[in-house]
Amino acid sequence: MATDQQEITSANSGRRNGSGIAEVVGRWLLRWGPAIAGHVVFIAAWWLVVVWAEIPAFIMPTPWATLQTLWDPSYHWPHHIAITAAEVFGGYALAVAVGIGIAMIFCWSRGAERGAMPVLVTLNMIPKVAMAPLFIVWLGYGVFPNMVIAFTISFFPILLTTSRGLKEVEPDLLDLVKALKGSRWQIFCKIQLPGALPYIFSGMKVATVLAVAGAIVGEFMGSSGGLGYLMQSRQGFLDTAGMFMGVILVSIIGVALYGLVLLLERWLVVTDARIE
């Protein structure tokens, strides 16, 4: 770890230098170009497979046929997107708040952790999908029960990683603060919580996928709106293009959520630029 003292890594310089629109666009293309190209290749492959293998539209529609469903008002896309998005984002936000909150309680009370953690682990082993019919019995149809399903399925990884992160403190660092007669609260605010942020975000990233899955499963089980509901109702008409569009829109909601989490992480977590 020890290197020449006079030397400083130039790792961070990449972010600062550079000006001029052409250069900015160039750098942007260099960074995101491959990702865009990857998606284009994927859609092209989809299209080619459908056309060459002459797959009937009710098995697999072309990308274009799928896209066309977007301007068909009878689908009421905005309505269903809003419902699913509310379930996903609401359930996820609840999971983040409760997951981090419980982890903090555990951090402050060993007894609470020893008592409650095993119960939570057991509860987490229950397949949440199996609970969906029960939630419907308890909470009825609608946005809220599906939000609860999204929450139950996605909160556990956040709790686990946060709890772990809050424990990852260098003992010597604790000694340093204790020698200064620092309070438990100071240790928590200045050392534990900021130190746990990378762990919290790794749990939050895993949870995004789960929240989307939870919301959709809920809609399958019983609901009167949302993209999952729409897909199921279109199944009866063998409207595969509409179902495909539903899947794509659900994925886009998930990607949007994931992107937001990444942005938040970038803003809050100082990462060693060498790792990137």
Binding site: A2, E170, D175, V177, V269
Partner: protein, 268 residues
């Protein structure tokens, strides 16, 4: 807070100096799950204000335990530990600075904010603390690095920042637990010279734990030798070599006499 650049007071044994740290027959037993482990058996040591005392001994001999007792992190089971005294007010929280083998900088804080951590914990006035932190960073040779993150600095530079952090709240004593132990040999030598410069500029009392025998003699006004655990005081002696010291000093025959003395006390 005293200016950092005041001249050093002569360290030679003034007859009426009252030690700032007094340890008499200190004993420490660790108890875990019914098992007892005697870490420190009998340590007696006086450290005068402004001294740089090195505590040298083999790995695992209980040197760090002695430091932790002085830092108020561990209690002791027998003997006396006194820090400060009449005319030498000592606040157990405010007046101790610590440096460990690892820099232990907070990854998410810039260097200046890292140095300010003790001042924040103690609730010292912010503006003064900031000025002092900048002054200290300048003193440890990190001027211009205030806004860097720790990962942008080499190991030696991170340890300099950790030293600045130990001084930021103007403690009366600074406890150093093998602070250069994780550095490569060349960097360590350079840091030894730096430490002597910082010490003479700051006039702090420093207790420096090391298993490096040459390092122990090179730095110290006085050396305390501990035998293998449980720690027992084998020897203490003053190092009568003039400051400022240069690396050449290690070729001085007197230097050899001192290192030889430590080797023989440790049975080597």
């Amino acid at each position: 807070m005293p200016a950092l650049s005041e001249p050093v007071v002569a360290m030679d044994e003034a007859p009426d100096v009252r030690p700032i740290i007094r340890m008499r027959g200190v004993k420490k037993v660790y108890r875990t799950r019914g098992e007892e482990f005697l870490a420190v058996k009998d340590v007696t040591l006086d450290i005068n204000e402004g001294e740089l005392v090195t505590l040298v001994g083999p790995s695992g001999c209980g040197k760090s335990t002695v430091l932790k007792i002085l830092a108020g992190l561990h209690s002791h089971d027998d003997g006396e530990v006194e820090i400060g005294g009449p005319g030498m007010a000592f606040d157990a929280g405010r007046d101790v600075g610590m440096v460990f083998q690892q820099p232990l900088l907070l990854k998410w804080r810039r260097i200046l904010e890292n140095v300010l951590l003790p001042a924040e914990i103690l609730g010292l006035p912010q503006n003064e603390a900031r000025d002092r932190a900048r002054e200290l960073l300048d003193m440890v040779g990190l001027a211009g690095f205030e806004d860097k993150y720790p990962y942008e600095l080499s190991g030696g530079m991170q340890q300099r920042a950790a030293i600045a952090r130990a001084f930021v709240h103007d403690p009366k004593i600074v406890l150093m637990d093998e602070p250069f132990g994780a550095l490569d040999a060349l960097t360590r030598e350079r840091m030894n010279l730096e430490l002597l410069r910082i010490w003479s500029a700051s006039k702090k009392t420093i207790l420096f734990v090391t298993h490096g025998i040459h390092e122990a003699v090179f730095l110290a006004t006085r050396v305390a030798v501990l035998t293998a655990g449980p720690a027992r005081m084998a020897d203490t002696f003053a190092v009568d070599l003039p400051y400022p010291r240069e690396l050449d000093l290690q070729n001085d025959p007197r230097f050899g006499t001192y290192t030889h003395r430590i080797y023989s006390r440790l049975g080597l």
